[in-house]
Structure formats: C-alpha cells, structure tokens
Symmetry: D4
Subunit: 183 residues, 8 copies
Amino acid sequence: MQKMSVRTRVLTGAVTLAAVGAGTFGALSASAAPQSDQARPAADVRKSETVTSTHLSVAAATKAAQAALAAAEKENQRVTVAVVDRNGNTLVTLRGDGAGPQSYESAERKAFTAVSWNAPTSELVKRLAQTPNLKDIPGTLFLGGGAPVASQGAPIAGIGVAGAPSGDLDEKFAQAGVAALGK
Amino acid sequence: MQKMSVRTRVLTGAVTLAAVGAGTFGALSASAAPQSDQARPAADVRKSETVTSTHLSVAAATKAAQAALAAAEKENQRVTVAVVDRNGNTLVTLRGDGAGPQSYESAERKAFTAVSWNAPTSELVKRLAQTPNLKDIPGTLFLGGGAPVASQGAPIAGIGVAGAPSGDLDEKFAQAGVAALGK
Amino acid sequence: MQKMSVRTRVLTGAVTLAAVGAGTFGALSASAAPQSDQARPAADVRKSETVTSTHLSVAAATKAAQAALAAAEKENQRVTVAVVDRNGNTLVTLRGDGAGPQSYESAERKAFTAVSWNAPTSELVKRLAQTPNLKDIPGTLFLGGGAPVASQGAPIAGIGVAGAPSGDLDEKFAQAGVAALGK
Amino acid sequence: MQKMSVRTRVLTGAVTLAAVGAGTFGALSASAAPQSDQARPAADVRKSETVTSTHLSVAAATKAAQAALAAAEKENQRVTVAVVDRNGNTLVTLRGDGAGPQSYESAERKAFTAVSWNAPTSELVKRLAQTPNLKDIPGTLFLGGGAPVASQGAPIAGIGVAGAPSGDLDEKFAQAGVAALGK
Amino acid sequence: MQKMSVRTRVLTGAVTLAAVGAGTFGALSASAAPQSDQARPAADVRKSETVTSTHLSVAAATKAAQAALAAAEKENQRVTVAVVDRNGNTLVTLRGDGAGPQSYESAERKAFTAVSWNAPTSELVKRLAQTPNLKDIPGTLFLGGGAPVASQGAPIAGIGVAGAPSGDLDEKFAQAGVAALGK
Amino acid sequence: MQKMSVRTRVLTGAVTLAAVGAGTFGALSASAAPQSDQARPAADVRKSETVTSTHLSVAAATKAAQAALAAAEKENQRVTVAVVDRNGNTLVTLRGDGAGPQSYESAERKAFTAVSWNAPTSELVKRLAQTPNLKDIPGTLFLGGGAPVASQGAPIAGIGVAGAPSGDLDEKFAQAGVAALGK
Amino acid sequence: MQKMSVRTRVLTGAVTLAAVGAGTFGALSASAAPQSDQARPAADVRKSETVTSTHLSVAAATKAAQAALAAAEKENQRVTVAVVDRNGNTLVTLRGDGAGPQSYESAERKAFTAVSWNAPTSELVKRLAQTPNLKDIPGTLFLGGGAPVASQGAPIAGIGVAGAPSGDLDEKFAQAGVAALGK
Amino acid sequence: MQKMSVRTRVLTGAVTLAAVGAGTFGALSASAAPQSDQARPAADVRKSETVTSTHLSVAAATKAAQAALAAAEKENQRVTVAVVDRNGNTLVTLRGDGAGPQSYESAERKAFTAVSWNAPTSELVKRLAQTPNLKDIPGTLFLGGGAPVASQGAPIAGIGVAGAPSGDLDEKFAQAGVAALGK
C-alpha cells in the first residue's frame, strides 16, 4: 500500500480541526464525570489510514443561514432555513418567525438533497423525468429550495429553505445564503 | 491497487479529500441521469470558512473490523462488529456467522458511544455511578464492547463488538480491531 | 365557564404576530404554485376563541444560542446548542465545530426538558429521587445543561447545551445564552 | 433591522396568555414533586425579543371538532376529526364510533396540511398538477377533508376529517367544524 | 374447545354496533371514489367465529375528557387529557391551553398504561418495586395520572392526564373524568 | 342526538365478551405482581355510554390464516399471511417457510387496507385512478392480496397475503382464507 | 482460515430448503408481473461461501404458539403469543381474545430476548443484577415470559407470552409452547 | 399435509451450522454475566419441525462487498456497498470514502429489493410499469444498483451499490461484487 503513505504526506501539510483540538479532545466527555482517571489512552492510527472531510464552520454556516433568512424577510416571506453537511448532519437550523409547521423538516431535506448530488434541488427535480424513483431515497425532498455549497468544486454542505409560496422563491433565498459565503 | 495511487497523486495537491475528486464530485449524482447539462456550478467557499474532520478510510475501517471479527472467531465467539465515525455515521458493519439478532444494533451503539466520549465503553459504564442518566442519550449503549480510535489524541472512530458472553470479551475483540490499525 | 370569559377579556387586548402579517399569511403556501385562484377565504374566528403563546423571536433565539456557543468556545469546549419553544418545537440549532455526535439530540432534549418544567435540568435531575419515572417521558433528558427562558415568569423557551465534560459546564454555557437575552 | 423594531412595537401592546397564568406557570412541573425549593428563577426576556402565535382555545377547538363530527353523524358517516394548530401540534382528536383504522392519522395529516398552506386540502390537491412533490413533505396528506381556520386572515389551525366515502364529504364536515367557530 | 362454544353462546345474544350500521358500513370507503360498482360483497362470518370488545362511545369519552380538563382548570392547572380504548387506540385528546409540550404524549401513555392493567397508574407504580422492568414495555408510562374505566369489572378505557405539578394532582383530574361517566 | 339513543337501545341488549370474563379481567395485570391489594375498583360506566366492535376470534383468525397459507403452499408459493382487525391491530401473522423478507409488512398492510375500506385491495387499486393520493395514507398498501372479512355486511377484519409472483395470486390465497370462515 | 474450511466441510453435506424449492424460488417475485422474460439468471455461489441457519417451520411455530395460547386459556388468562426466529424475525403471532394492548409488542420482545441469549427471560432478568444495561439493547424486554427453542443445543427460536398477571405465569405458558415441539 | 413430510425427509439429511457450534451456542449470552448456573437447558426440537435458510458467510459477503467497492473506485466513483440476506438482515456495509450521505440507506434498500424478488433492481424497475405500487412496499428502493445472489437458483442475498452518477453504473459495480463469488 505504497500509495496510501503518499496520501499521508499530503495530510501532513493539512491542519485539521482534530489536530488543533487534540489536547482538548482527549478530555472530551459530554456531561460525564471528570475523566482525570482515564488511564488507557485510545490507540493512535497512522495518517495513511485516514481521510478527511471538509465542513462549513458553525460560524460560516450560521452566517449563511442568517443571510438566507434575511433575504426572505426582506420579501416578507416566513421561512425556515437549514444547513446540512456532506455527512448528512444538520449544522444549523433557524425557524423563522411565523414559518409554517411543514417548513422545518422540509428545509432540512432540501439541504440534504442538494448536498447529496451537489446541485440545486430545482435542477434535481428535472432528473425525475428520467429517474422518477430517485425521490424515494430516504431523507430527500425534490422541491426547489435547496442549494449546494462547494469547496474547490466538491460539495461540502447544502442550504435548504422552505415556507415561501414557491420553490423558486425558497431557492432564491437559499442562494442568498450561499452567496454570503466567500465574502 | 494501481488506481488508488492515481487518486493519491491528486491528493498531493490537495488540502482536503474533497479537493481530490472535484471534477468527479461535480458530476456526482447517485443513480441519477447524466448531468452534463449541469450549467450552474455551486459557489465556492473560502478556506477560512471551513473546518475538516478526520475519518478512518474505508480500507482501514474494514481492516480493523476484520481483525476484531477474527479475534472473536479465534475464541469461537459469534459476534457482530461495527465501525462508526466521529460524525456518528456507520462506516463498516460485519455481521458474523451465527451472531445473535441483538448484536447488530448493539455493536453500532457501542461504537457510537465510544467515539462520542473517546473512551472504552467499559470505562464509560463506570461514569454512570455518578451520572446515571448519561445512558438515556439517544444512540448510546453503556455496555462493554466499544473502543475508541484516535488520531493525535482526538477521537475519529469507534469500534463496537457485540455477541460474546460478556462485555469484557466483546471489548477485547474491539481492542484487537483497534490494534490492527497503525501497523 | 366564568374563567374562560375572564381569559377572553385579557386576550381581547392582545395584538398577535398573526395580525401583523395578515396580508402575507393569506398568501402563504410554502413551495406551492401561486395561489391567486384561491377564492374561498378561510373562515375567521372570534378573538374570544383564541389564546396566544409567546415565543422567542428567531433573532433573539439565535443571539442566545450564539452566546452559549461563544461561552463554550471560550473554555475550549466543543458543544451543540439548541433552543426549543414552549410548544416543543426547535427554533435554532448550532452544532459547534468538533462537537460529538451525541450532542445534537442531547441539546434538543435538554432544552425541551427545561421549558417543559420551567427549571434548569440540573434542578430537575433532583426530582428523580422522588419521581424516578419522570425521565421516561418521551422527548426529555434529565442531565444538566438545559436552562429555561421565561417571560413574566412563564416559560417560553429552553436552551440546551451538550458536549462539555460535565453537565455543570453545559449548563453554565446554557445560562450564558439565557443571560444574553434581556440586554 | 427596521422591520423587527416595528414588530416589537406591536408586540409591546400584547398581553399574552402566559401573563395570565404567570404565577401558576412558575410552579408548573407536570407530575414532579412540589418545587417549593426552586430558588433560581428563570431569567426574564424583554418583550422586544418575543413574538406570539395565536391558537384556538381548547374550548373552541373542541366545539369545532364536535360540530364536524355531528355533521358527519347526521349523514350516517363514521369519521375521525382532528384539530391541529399553526405550530403543527394536535389540539383535539375525536375518533368517531366505528370510524376506520386509517382515519385517525389521516385526519391529523389533513389538518396539518390545511394549516400549513392556509387552504382547504381539496384546493391543495390541485397544486400537485404543477408541483407534484409537495406531497412528499413529511406530515402532509393531499386528500380532501382538511380546512383551515384563520384569525384576521392568518392561519391559526386546521381541521381534518377522514373516514367518509369521499374527500368531498370529509371536507364538507370539516367546513362545518370551521363554521361553528365565530358564532 | 369446550370453552369456546360457551363463549359462542354468550355472543349469540349480542347485538353489535356493526349490526346497526351494516348498510352504511358496506358503503364505507374513507375519501375514496364512490363505490357503486363494488360488486363482490365481502364474505360473512358466523357469529361463533367472532368476539366483541366494548368501547366508550366518542360522546362519553369526550364528556369524560372535558370533565377531567375542567377539574384541572378549576385548580388553575394546565394539562392535556387523553382517552385510550382497550385496543390501545386513542379515542379523544384535549390539549389544554398552556399545557407543557411534554404533556400530550404523557397523557396518552398514562391512559394506555391504566387500561392495560385495569388499575390507576399510581397503583401500578408500586408494582415496579417487585417487577421494575414492567416500565420498559413499549407505550407505557409509570407515573400517576392514569385511571381505568371499566364496564362490568372489565377495563374498556383509560383516562390519562399530564401537566400538573404532581402525578397525584394529575390523577385526581383523571378520576374526575371517570366520575363523570355513569351519571 | 336522536341517533345516539337509538344505538344505545340496541347496545342495551348486548352481552359483550368483557362481561364473560369480568372476574378475570379485574385481576388482569400482565406480568405484574399479584394484585390482591388492589382495593380501589375502577368505576363502572353505563351501557348507554359504550359501543362495541366485533372481531374475529383468535381461533377463527388462525383458521383463516392457515387456510390462506395452505392455498399458497398447494401452488408452491411462499407467502406470509396476516389478519388485522377493524381497529387496525394485527391478530395473527404466519410467515410461510421461504417467504421473502418484503412479505411480512406487506401482508399486514394489505390486510389493513382491505379492512379500512371493506373491499379487496385489487378493487381499491382501481380507485387510485380517481384519487391517487389515497395510497399516501399511513399503514396502507395498494397492491392486490388483501381481502375483507365482514359480519352482517360490516367490515371486521382484513386478510393480507404477500409473496406470490402476482397480486392476483396473493389475493386468491387471501380469499381462500376468507372462504374458510363461515363453514 | 482453517476454521472456515472445517465449517465448509460440514456445510457441504447440507441439503437446504433452498435446494428443495430451487425451481420455485427462481420464479419468486411477490406481487410483481410475470417474469418469464427474466433472462439474466442470478449468479450462483459455491457452497463453501455459504452458511445456513435453522428455523422452526411455520407449521411447528404455529403448533407451539397454539399450545401456549391453549395453556393460557385453560387458566382463563388472556395473552398474546409470539414466535421469533434466530434472525430476529417474527414467524407467528396470535393475539388472544381479550389480551391487553400492551401484550402484543411485549410478547415479541420477550421472544426476541429469549432467542438472543438462548435462555428463559426469567433467567435473563437475574443477569441484570450484574449487567443492568443489558436491558437497554434495542428490541429486548427483560420480563419473565420468554422461552428459547433449541436444535441440538443451539437457539433457533424464542416463544414469548404476555398478558397474564405475572411473568411466571406468562413463562409457564411459553414453556407449554416449547413442550409442544418435539412430540 | 403430504408435502410437508416430503420436505421433512429432505431436511433430515441436513447438517446445519447450528450443529457445528452447538456447544458454543449453548453458552452464548452476548455481554451478559457468566452463565454457568444456567441449569435448565432449552428444549430440543425434532428436525422435522425445522427448515433452514442459506446465507452468504460473512467472509464471502465481505469479499463481494470489497469487490464491488473496488470496481467503483477503479472508475473513480464514490459509493456505499451493502449486502443483505434473504431474511432481510444486513450482513455487511462498506461506506466508501467520500460517498454521499444518501448512499448508505440507498445501498441497503437496493440490496433488500434485489434479494426479495431475486432479480436485479434495474429489471424490477420495469415491473413498475404494470404494478406501480410495488415501490410502496416498506424497505424497498426501485433504482438500478441492486443485484441478487443465488444458491442453486434460489435467492440468498442481495448486493446494493449507491452513489455513482447512474443506477446503471451502480449496478455494474454490484454485479462485480456478485462475480467475485464462486471464484
């Protein structure tokens, strides 16, 4: 596995979150008792055995979500915004004032769908003409309102908006969220 | 595995795995129709807006799971093995021949628990003496058999084993899986 | 029903959010086609038939969640923060960078628990000594880290934090979120 | 955020239900031990940080549900009736004598759908011609039988009926429930 | 099967609800198209092959639920009330104004528990001293607040109340609901 | 409520199963400790407050399910059979040897669908031409293979079969189950 | 992998059900259209790559369940009986006349628990003294009433009974079901 | 039941896996305390009462899954692979590096679908033209990417792949997994 060690070198140059918080992580134990007695340290793997995935920081995800919400509020639309990462986990949700009860899970699913295929959900809807059962994949929702976020061309997050009178409007707001990044 | 090294070369320039497959990712669309017409590229974020998380590669996770399973088989124990990453996603499962029906979800939960607190589940069980309701956190299982995998001290995965007559045995096999890494 | 009419009088003086956005709401139809043809207007109820509930605005909930997250980050703790309203709906979630996978649902449940009983979850844990099965109520989690938000003494929201090494720490951050309100 | 302060002014004039029961709410602790020792009072937020939502009182919701059920019984139809509020929570359910097993969840979903888009579900069904995937939104059901309830034009509840031989009949009964309000 | 034939004789004397609505039932088809073309009638079973179960009528269940709610309101307690039948189906729910979000499912579960064992849940809690794992049975909640309704000594329904500061109070209100029956 | 009192009169003449086992039911407490100390008897309701529902006895349901399974085996088809009552509860399931993994839940849902609308599922499928969203009702499955069982014209149970190469075959076996009743 | 080849030899001698029904299986396609055009046959594996698991036939499982139910009826107890195989799948359920609503899922879980550990659940309850969190494994229920069925010492099924006043009684009936096998 | 006794004879010749591990199985008790005190041995059934099902060994299933993954990697596609047995249980999962979040459950469902009908999912999609509601069966996904594995013509497992840009590609990789067997 010569090749794997090559990758390792690459990663050596990387500064991953994990590296940063190493000391802290060792002490991580959400809501548990202090762990000073934790004698046995977890084994350490070689870098050649790892890959990394890129995520929006919570700060950036919040900024994007707020921008999407502000865009909706500017047009007097009441929506919920969600940001989901490439692993399918929700990073941020903002349930806008007065948004309908159907908007929360819709926003999450649109974001999930956009990041899964790295395309706006309004585009993905068109693919159903050829492959209608795509929409049966658990966790997805094929309605306009989801926009992907990419890093160097690869999808790292999806922003989903739901609650406006049309999917086009929802997606316009989601794109406003995307646009707030990289500025 | 010539092909892998090709990818590796790409990574040489990279800063995340995502970067590697940029061209590929742009075309990613699981089971959808070809997307040559996907004109609108997703916006690109700045690096300062992203964080990365480290995962076991599927190759390494499989190697660890197989080692855990082999350790159990050597002692004539029938178990299921699961590897879960720091984001809570299952990477690999191996349902051993003859393992009981309760072992599959148990293995996943033990792995989830170990990676959540970066400690063997046999240690985490002890914390319940002080904070008994920790075990009510969804997705967890406070039984011996889960072992964390760390990179530079930070948790990146958990290995869970279930099905042997005791949690101590299960955890011995899980630790065998951990030990297979870094070799 | 003497009591009801008393309440009615109080509510007569109320001006609800709904009133504000009335024109907009009439056109609300999340992601649906334009509804210009919606001839039949929904019937209008009398005020005496309605009650109102108070919520944190999304702006205030976001501010509180960000304050809680900032307090955790200041101590190098990686946590998730959730804000839940009195109806049990999640308003805002912020998954902090590097927070464990168990933290997301934990934060939501702590917030839910705090707003349900209008008390910090660290206090509620003590009640289990007398009524241990309280913790079997669906949606709850009896671990420190949840703090209630009140308006005129009545609970309107809960803030939940999860991911720090102890529930006391989690709750300190949640209280920092509460403290950010009213300033 | 000019808009927010406008809203704030409106809300300043509000007297919410919460205010009414303030003393009581402070002591609220469903099924827990007495809380006389609850020293730390929850922090109080400013009114500018809150919004309110309007609900049917349980008395009104019950009246409406009973009217819908009576309308169905008058035509020898066996149905279930549900009333759901704008936050998506079920307020009242009445499973009519002899109603089919499929009617209970159907009634709740029709009510949820009607309040989400502030339109009768028989109207919403028509929108599927243009946006067929609306019906994939979790919690919805696009069948006649749901009717919205509004206050000053804004949706505050939905009434759903299920179990009659056609959606038109179900919706006729739901409208009878709406009509019972405001009298 | 001597026993069965005895039962059969008893049932021979029964006139069931089904009989009453026979003509109507034949045409039952909740929300479906008219069924005039439904040529093939369903086969008819002999009475010796059937048993019957007794339920509260929806009218009686509503009366009981309203009585429980009124009893709570008289003491300024904000609660949710649920009535569940012997088959485990919810007949009626009333979410009282201002009741906490945890109260809805709690009320249903208390009612379910009471009708399952034909005893008040405050009594059932005591059985946990001897059989603690009873409370792990899905759908149950072992907290005071559930009261059984019986017909000729056999359980036919449960009334559950949740939201008051103690289970004793909740159960007092549930008993008020029971007491409203038979008057 | 003239109608209700009519029903009441009918029900007055009813002798329900509950009556038969009254003494036994009073002592019912599945898996709990002996209840000799259960002093407080549950309140007794008047008959005018109750309705009854008719069910297949477990003996009859088993006979029907076995007949359906035998019919399938005679044609070398491997299927699962389910019998569901009018309250939506499963009475009997028989997973035939070698039946596919998709057959179990399919059989239950076909039975549920047949009893809900009192028609064979092969007939119900046709209604989708006019009301396509009927199939979105939770718990249903619109595939041939479900047959209703009626008592005096009213639906009391559904028999569902799944696993044969076509819905027509499945339904032929289900009808064989129905035919075994009343003999 | 010496061990594997040993197992292989044993399996070489096996004649599995699959072999019996080979022709039939090839045509299996539950509820689908005829498959005469299915040109591409599925690849065939070598026997050395397969293992087999033993199940109760549906005929035997039904016999056992009926024996358990009859034993309960003889003592005037109303129970539900379930038979679950070693893969965790439910084979047979019989909901006895008048059994409480909590009994159905309880019976399935007791059966699942018994087959998972190849011991009566009354024995398994005792293990909780040493390993209390065993009962948190999904799908289990640690109450008397489950009995394992073995073939040559290995567990192949579990029989669960629920609904009688004590777990001891439930288990007595489950054991009557086991005893009906092998006769 | 002439047919059954024929089957019985066949099975008499069977030597099952259970037989192999008999001694071990008797001591099986995943994570429980030592069971030396387990006096009461489980009853033993006659062979005529059992049937057997054939499974891929975990070794073979892993080999197939790795082959499928390697085939995808060779074409620079990022996918998840799942192997499901004829009882519907997942045997092996491998989440490939960089596979989208929608791929995991998709792969499992494609595998489940393929083994249920013993046909490639690309073929099964065509059956929807005639029987569209097949796709509503729980657990299924009608998208290319699933391939059946057979033993002597009977289905024993399914291999599912998801994440490539088209279902055809996914299925090509799944078939590569099948092809790795029997070599």
